[in-house]
């Protein structure tokens, strides 16, 4: 059992969903880049170097990088994109009032590769269905 969404929050949900869809795709892409970068860094002991002495894009051992270290850049950018993704997840949880376990499950989208591409369409569908369900059972004693 959990509570139905508040009517006042329903319009906000639509805006959050818009941001969420973009965030799910961008975070998902950076998560794949992150996986590639981790394999290169810890499997092959090289980082992706941008504009260094070995060419525009080169695989260079970390200690010898003089250009821009794209691997570390991917790491940082993914971290902040995930913060945005989690922010959307949190707002949906508050507005739509689904369970805490579901909030944690949706949070996995930024950690499990490819999962966010599924969530990108699955979560808006779930949220829309839930809002529709809430309208079918209108709140008692609360002005809509």
């Amino acid at each position: 059992m959990s509570l139905a969404p508040r009517p006042a929050d329903v319009s906000r949900v639509r805006n959050v969903l818009r941001v969420f869809r973009v965030s799910a795709i961008v975070t998902g892409v950076f998560l794949l880049l992150l996986c590639a970068m981790m394999v290169l860094r810890y499997g092959f002991l090289v980082d992706i170097e941008l504009n260094g002495p070995y060419g525009f894009l080169a695989l260079t051992p970390r200690s010898r990088i003089t250009g821009i270290d794209l691997s570390t850049a991917i790491l940082i950018v993914h971290g902040w994109l995930y913060v945005v993704y989690l922010g959307c997840d949190f707002l949906l949880w508050r507005f739509v009032r689904f369970s805490f376990g579901r909030f944690l499950f949706f949070a996995l989208g930024g950690i499990v590769p490819f999962l966010s591409f599924y969530f990108e369409f699955r979560i808006p569908a779930y949220v829309t269905a839930r809002l529709a369900q809430a309208e079918v059972t209108p709140p008692v004693g609360v002005a809509a």
């Binding site: 059992m1 139905a4 002495p53």
Partner: protein, 254 residues
């Protein structure tokens, strides 16, 4: 309609289940705080340590011992050393940058008067041929003055495809024809180049203590996460209070 029909916030918070949840939230917050502390420590530790004079040469024997790892205080120090250059024990390194130009280093093998071995980068040349040609006439001053630097990580055969570009003391030992067994783990960049070579650009180590801002930001993030763990506990308790306070008709399946 009747929002206050259910239990109050503290009545719910005092239930064993929510006291347990609070302890969990506090444990998580403590863990996050510890991670933040670690990041703060790193933000200072990874900044260069302020040191006194590194530019007045001192005897290498008074600074470092053979076989011992190069420490922070030894790194980048100008030193003097007396010894002899071993004939024929030269290595040419590729891909060495000097004032923006890629070229080659000629690295010699010095046996100090104390009997220890030391790798010395004698100079830079724009072509491999020029670097190799300097071997024949290479001599070292007595005393030799140069900057003492830690050995670089060795080349990786699969990455570098046989090109040797790292000033790696372990790699040099394998290439030297004569090796006595007692070696300095750092190498020297000669202040004055051998005949036919250019001086290697080797600036003094930075003296400024600067914070590593990336680590500072990570520390701030962990602090926010720690606060958020407590907030989540509050929010979950509040949800229960609201749920039990609202009419049954407002409830729905999760």
């Amino acid at each position: 309609m009747n929002e206050s029909s259910g239990p109050g916030f503290w009545a719910v918070a005092r239930r064993p289940r929510w006291i347990g949840a609070l302890l969990l939230a506090l444990a998580i917050a403590a863990g996050f705080s510890a991670l933040g502390q670690w990041q703060l420590a790193r933000s200072v530790a990874s900044a260069p340590v302020a040191r006194a004079d590194t530019e007045t040469p001192i005897a290498l024997t008074s600074l470092a011992e053979p076989g011992k790892t190069v420490t922070d205080t030894q790194l980048g120090r100008m030193v003097t050393v007396t010894g002899t250059l071993v004939d024929g024990d030269f290595v040419v390194l590729s891909n060495r940058l000097n004032a923006g130009a890629t070229g080659f280093w000629l690295v010699g093998h010095v046996v100090t008067d104390g009997g220890a071995e030391l790798a010395v980068a004698l100079g830079w040349a724009p072509t491999r041929a020029q670097a190799a040609a300097a071997e024949g006439s290479a001599t070292i001053a007595s005393p030799l003055i140069g900057r003492y630097l830690p050995s670089e990580a060795p080349d990786q055969p699969d990455v570098d495809k046989g090109v040797q570009s790292a000033a790696s003391v372990p790699a040099f030992i394998n290439q030297w024809a004569h090796f006595g067994g007692s070696v300095y783990t750092g190498y020297l960049v000669a202040a004055t180049p051998a005949t036919g070579l250019e001086a290697i650009d080797s600036p003094a180590p930075s003296q400024e203590v600067s914070l590593n801002w990336l680590n500072v930001f990570y520390a701030a993030e962990w602090a926010i996460f720690a606060g958020f763990a407590i907030y989540l506990w509050y929010r979950l308790v509040k949800d229960v209070v609201e749920k039990e306070g609202e009419p049954v008709e407002r409830r729905m399946e999760a």
